[in-house]
Amino acid sequence: MLEIKQLSASLEDGKVILNGVDLTVPSGEIHAIMGPNGSGKSTLSYVLSGRDGYEVTGGSATFEGKDLLDMEPEERAAAGLFLAFQYPVELPGVGNANFLRTAFNAQARARGEPELDAVKFLRAAREAMKRLAMPDDMLKRNVNVGFSGGEKKRNEVLQMAMLKPKLAILDETDSGLDIDALKIVADGVNALRGPGFSALVITHYQRLLDYIVPDRVHVLSAGRIIRSGGPELAKELEATGYAPMVADAA
């Protein structure tokens, strides 16, 4: 499904961030990416989702055989790629429900699928919100404006639940969450788990992986994947820290 080969990228000022990343995430699998600060985790998620400000200097990234790097951000979204933001953005004056439905219908249109009318959409959104323990008025509020950190992250998961992506990238979704919110967010991801869904969970800590158990764990350091393994690799990291692994790779 997602195939990344020798992907290298730098900032506009020339600073190299990704330095030959190799990664394959088969359909139906959840992979975790761990790594110290500054290892390139967030850059990887931005390059895959098409944010401006990064220059791909080598390698490739394909999604279901399509060249991701050649697509506009909205085309990647319509193809089924979803990024849960580390810092969800506020949109003053834009109602959450309106935003979600506009996004849903834009993707449906791009895929040639039928759009949802207001009533059906609202029903679906309310159900998803119940599962995420979000109060109804979150739909009426403006997108992320005045939301607490936990509410913002839950709002990201609500969007994911509604947009039903094939590939979700969760960029440190666990940061700033208390344990109850963490469980709710993990439940949201686990609910989507199945043959047509895969995820790339980016995190600093083992904690989230207790609730979203990954099929594979990769360690990113200095823009490269230096080790890959099963869920036990996360436990090892928790015990030893990144330093010995980084030293080995150097």
Binding site: S49, G50, R51, D52, G53, E72, P73, E74, R76, A77, A78, F82, L83, F85, P88, V89, E90, L91, P92, G93, V94, G95, N96, A97, N98, F99, R101, T102, A103, F104, A106, Q107, A110, A118, F121, L122, L139, K140, N142, Q159, L163
Partner: protein, 496 residues
């Protein structure tokens, strides 16, 4: 910053070059020679067979104008206007002010159909479905002003039955002379300011609305202004009177052909609200803004003022200003009646080389008067957008309150946004609040929207729409739709 560059392109395609109302109607016109002098004024007055008092009023205004200088305090720049190089009267040939819609020149009907303004009322009156290809009938009475004259006014009969007078002001002069004489110039005196004096001297047509005591106007009224003729100024005059307990919602729309020369539009609007009367006045101003390099476009110098004379009277101005090369406009309220209320909701969008200096004046005279000002300025391209507002509390306005919110949104780094609030309070019990913000559409917001599947244009539309929401929600439904389209906004869903 590629995203910002793309945004600029998007906005450009939405406003400047995307002007869809720029066509010209080919119709035989009766045009006065260029130039302004007493004879021009006598000719206009004669064309309209006006009574002597009105000619005298015009000539007095002209004399005042000759002794005035063009104001230069606004933050706008333009070459000197040659007032002798303008036609002051242009009207489609044939009878001005036809008695029935059937007499209206088919070319004109076509023009308004093209602009989306239906001048047919039969379908709705007879309760039949509109014929295929016809616009579905809307329950709005329209006065259509084409250059210097009103060419059609719909639904006059059904309004008349309700006691409402809605007709061209040139006809009101004949049919309701006492009302016109009583109120004309009572809010904006003939010599009020340079452009108002000019208007008073040469105004040609406009709408007259009278809502008698206790009547709620049964439908929305609207006037649609169209400048068509070349090198012609449009000087319309609108007068709306709501007697005790009356209420009315009035809409105004404007477009003009795309031309390389600048054209002058200097209108005057006067509103009078007596005890417990309510007037809601909404404008979607979409005069031709000129091209990307600032060539052509309308100079829009307008004086709009409301007198809240009665106790508990209320006037609400809502404007969406997207057009004109230059906008100079300050819809104001004189809050004289006790507990009277003035509101001003404004969206002003400037792009390319457009310049807007707009805002309001709230003059609190009576006890317990209240005013609300919400202004949203959006600047893109190399445009300049200024909010200029005055809140004046006079000594007797005990307990007066004002709340002002001015927000500016910048797109790109070559535009300007300016906020110039004047606050003068001479009563210690009054409360005046002013809040102002300036922000930019940022790449994070655009990327967030696009990551969720929205195109660049839809993302900009959504963000701009969100920014303007507090104002757009004040517009009547019909106009809100037009305004949203104008701001290139995808429709706000009925959800939420």
């Amino acid at each position: 910053m590629a995203a910002v560059a793309e945004t600029l392109d998007t906005v450009q395609s939405l406003t400047g070059s995307g002007y869809k109302w720029g066509f010209e109607t080919d119709i035989e016109m009766d045009v006065a020679p260029k130039g302004l002098n007493e004879d021009t004024i006598r000719m206009i007055s004669a064309r309209k067979a006006e009574p002597e008092w009105l000619l005298a009023w015009r000539l007095k205004a002209y004399a005042a104008w000759l002794n005035m200088v063009e104001p230069d305090w606004a933050k706008v720049g333009y070459p000197k206007i040659d007032y002798q190089d303008i036609h002051y009267y242009a009207a489609p040939k044939k009878k001005p002010g036809p008695k029935s819609l059937d007499e209206v020149d088919p070319e004109l009907l076509k023009t308004y159909a093209k602009l989306g303004i239906p001048l047919k009322e039969q379908a709705l009156l007879a309760g039949v479905e509109p014929a295929e290809g016809d616009e579905p009938a809307r329950n709005i009475a329209v006065d259509a002003v084409f250059d210097s004259v009103s060419v059609a006014t719909t639904f006059r009969k059904s309004l008349y039955e309700a006691g409402v007078i809605f007709c061209p002001i040139s006809e009101a002069v004949h049919d309701h002379p006492d009302l016109v004489r009583q109120y004309l110039g009572s809010v904006v005196p003939a010599g009020d300011n340079y452009f108002a004096a000019l208007n008073s001297a040469v105004f040609t047509d406009g709408s007259f609305v009278f809502i008698p005591k206790g009547v709620r106007c049964p439908m929305e009224l609207s006037t649609y202004f169209r400048i068509n003729a070349k090198n012609t100024g449009q000087f319309e005059r609108t007068l709306i009177i709501a007697e005790e307990g009356a209420s009315v919602s009035y809409l105004e729309g404007c477009t003009a052909p795309q031309r390389d020369e600048n054209q002058l539009h200097a209108a005057v609007v006067e509103l009078v609200a007596l005890d417990d009367a309510t007037i809601k006045y909404s404008t979607v101003q979409n005069w031709y803004p000129g091209d990307a390099n600032g060539k052509g476009g309308i100079y829009n110098f307008v004086t709009k003022r409301a007198a809240c004379r009665g106790a508990r009277s209320k006037v609400s101005w809502t404007q969406v200003e997207t057009g004109s090369a230059i906008t100079w406009k300050y819809p104001s309220c004189i809050l004289q009646g006790e507990d009277s209320v003035g509101e001003f909701y404004s969206v002003a969008l400037t792009n390319n080389r457009q310049q807007a200096d707009t805002g309001t004046k709230m003059i609190h005279i009576g006890k317990g008067t209240r005013s609300t000002i919400v202004s949203k300025g959006i600047s893109a391209g190399r445009s300049d957008n200024t909010y200029r507002g005055l809140v004046r509390i006079l000594p007797k306005a005990h307990g007066a309150r004002n709340f002002t919110q001015c927000d500016s949104l910048l797109i790109g780094d070559q535009c300007g946004a300016h906020t110039v609030p004047y606050i003068e309070s001479r009563n210690a019990t009054a409360q005046v609040e002013h809040e102002a913000t300036t922000s930019k559409i940022n790449d994070d917001q655009l990327f967030y929207c696009r990551q969720r599947g929205l195109s660049q244009e839809d993302a900009v539309g959504l963000i701009v729409n969100g920014f303007c929401k507090d104002v757009l929600k004040e517009l009547p439904m019909e106009f809100a739709v037009e305004a949203q389209k104008l701001l290139a906004i995808s429709l706000e869903g009925s959800v939420g």
